[in-house]
Amino acid sequence: MIRFEGVSKSYARKNAAALTDIDLSIDGGEFVFLVGASGSGKSTFLRLLLCEEKATSGKVIVNDKDVAKIRRWKVPAYRRQIGAVFQDFRLLPEKNVEQNVAFALEVIGEPRAKVKTAVADALEIVGLADLSQRRPGQLSGGEQQRVAIARAFVNKPPLIIADEPTGNLDPTTSLDIMRLLDRINRTGTTVIMATHDAAVVDQMRKRVVELDAGRMVRDQVRGVYGYAG
């Protein structure tokens, strides 16, 4: 589903490259942890997938399409196939839970009836059906992240990208979020998750890709966070 072919990304302002010569292939339905220290290139990796930036060299291929060659006006359509979740949730504080999730469908012009059922389904999956009228300010961090996941998943995208989704959460809540992502992954959705969180990586035993200073130093099936082995 996703292929990185000799991908490098460098920024004009920094001397060090953000990514250097990444070769990687991720199949549909996989769950992949992207680990590494801050500044190792995890975020750049995800930004390339989201088509927020273009590789300096090499190719990022998603569903047999070269992401760099997507025309500017077609980028929104491309992004509809990707759900994104972030450390800071990125919810709209003036909207309630239901409205926050519905927003993702409304702004891409889905009909009201479809929005209603899809939002109800998504909230059911993340276990927030009872809190649908609350505002983000009235929810715990874990609940807010569930809303964000519901929003990312409401459109049933084939790929979910999560950038440090447990970064602001305590360990118990983090595990809840991981279970949720795991359950979504079992429906056939590919999940790529960048994280610092050794505990969740060790617990889940999924494929681990480690970046260090922009280079891929490890690609391990059923890996753990720390050492290679």
Binding site: W73, V75, P76, A77, R79, P93, E94, F103, I108, N155
Partner: protein
């Protein structure tokens, strides 16, 4: 939680700042468009007056009389033969002359009496003091020089006068006023555009959370930008309506109720011209603001 509170505070700030900016946009649009419209109305007025007056202006060929300047009239008062010859020369100009008629001293005096009915000047003027003349109406008022060349040196002609010259000075003055009004209006329109650009920047910034999410979930650029452009268009539309109202007030109160009764001898700008100006002004405001907003958000809400 703190992050959320900050976001809330920021949003509230953005909204409040936006409200004042919106009011600023409405008022600037209203003022600049009113000025712009006034400039256009002055031009319409000048056109109306030109139509009115140029239709009536004549070239006056004054003939020598008893009171004439002896330098211009060395032969004394015009003779019948001279008079006939001058008329023949004028008629010989052919189709350039639309109409020519003779005005005797007595007729000139009667005219004069009518014009200065209530003025003490009348007591000092007698029919003899006013020269007889040929009044020449030209098909094209620009052809004055040819009339002058044809008859100015003929014996019996004291002076050839082009009324158009007198009017032109007056129109030049009005033209100057109009240029000033339009100059200020253009400066104000520029200010309006800059204000819209800045307002959109602030709006784009204060709503970057929502637009960021929209980008992420794949909303089209058009959908993301539309609300901003609509905001600018609506604000400009309200300002435009205020300007239209101001122009209507100018027509009703200034032109119809003050100028018209005071200056009965000329034509004033009519409602048709006023409505045309209103439409131009309104569309200018809306298109300018909408265009400025579109270009700004295009720049600040890049994918």
């Amino acid at each position: 939680m703190r992050r959320l509170m900050l976001a809330l505070a920021e949003m509230w700030h953005g909204l409040r700042r936006n409200l004042t900016m919106t009011i600023a946009v409405i008022l600037t649009v209203a003022i600049s468009l009113t000025l712009f419209g006034t400039g256009l109305l002055v031009r319409a007025q000048v056109d109306a007056m030109k139509d009115y007056w140029y239709d009536r202006v004549e070239v006056s060929v004054f003939l020598c009389g008893k009171a004439s300047d002896p330098k211009a009239c060395p032969g004394g008062p015009v003779t019948d033969a001279q008079r006939a010859e001058i008329k023949a020369k004028i008629v010989a100009l052919g189709p350039k002359v639309q109409d020519v008629y003779y005005e005797s001293s007595q007729q000139a005096y009667d005219h004069f009496k009518q014009q200065f009915k209530n003025s003490p000047i009348l007591n000092n003027v007698t029919a003899d003091a006013l020269p007889e003349s040929f009044r020449v109406k030209l098909a094209n008022p620009e052809d004055f020089a040819q009339v002058a060349a044809a008859v100015a040196t003929s014996p019996g002609v004291e002076q050839v006068q082009d009324q158009r010259k007198l009017l032109e000075k007056f129109f030049k003055l009005l033209g100057g006023l109009q240029a000033i009004a339009l100059g200020i209006a253009i400066a104000m329109l520029l200010v309006t555009v800059l204000l819209v650009v800045n307002t959109m920047r602030v709006a784009a910034y204060s709503r970057r959370n929502a637009t960021g999410i929209m980008k992420l979930v794949g909303a089209s650029n058009f959908y993301i930008r539309l609300p901003f452009v609509l905001e600018a268009v609506v604000a400009a539309g309200i300002g435009g309506l205020l300007a239209v109202g101001a122009l209507a007030a100018e027509k009703v109160f200034l032109v119809d109720q003050i100028l018209q009764p005071a200056f009965r001898f000329t034509a004033f700008v009519g409602w048709q011209a006023v409505v045309e100006v209103m439409i131009i002004v309104f569309l200018t405001g809306v298109i300018l603001a909408g265009g400025a907003a579109w270009l700004t958000v295009r720049r600040y809400l890049r994918v």
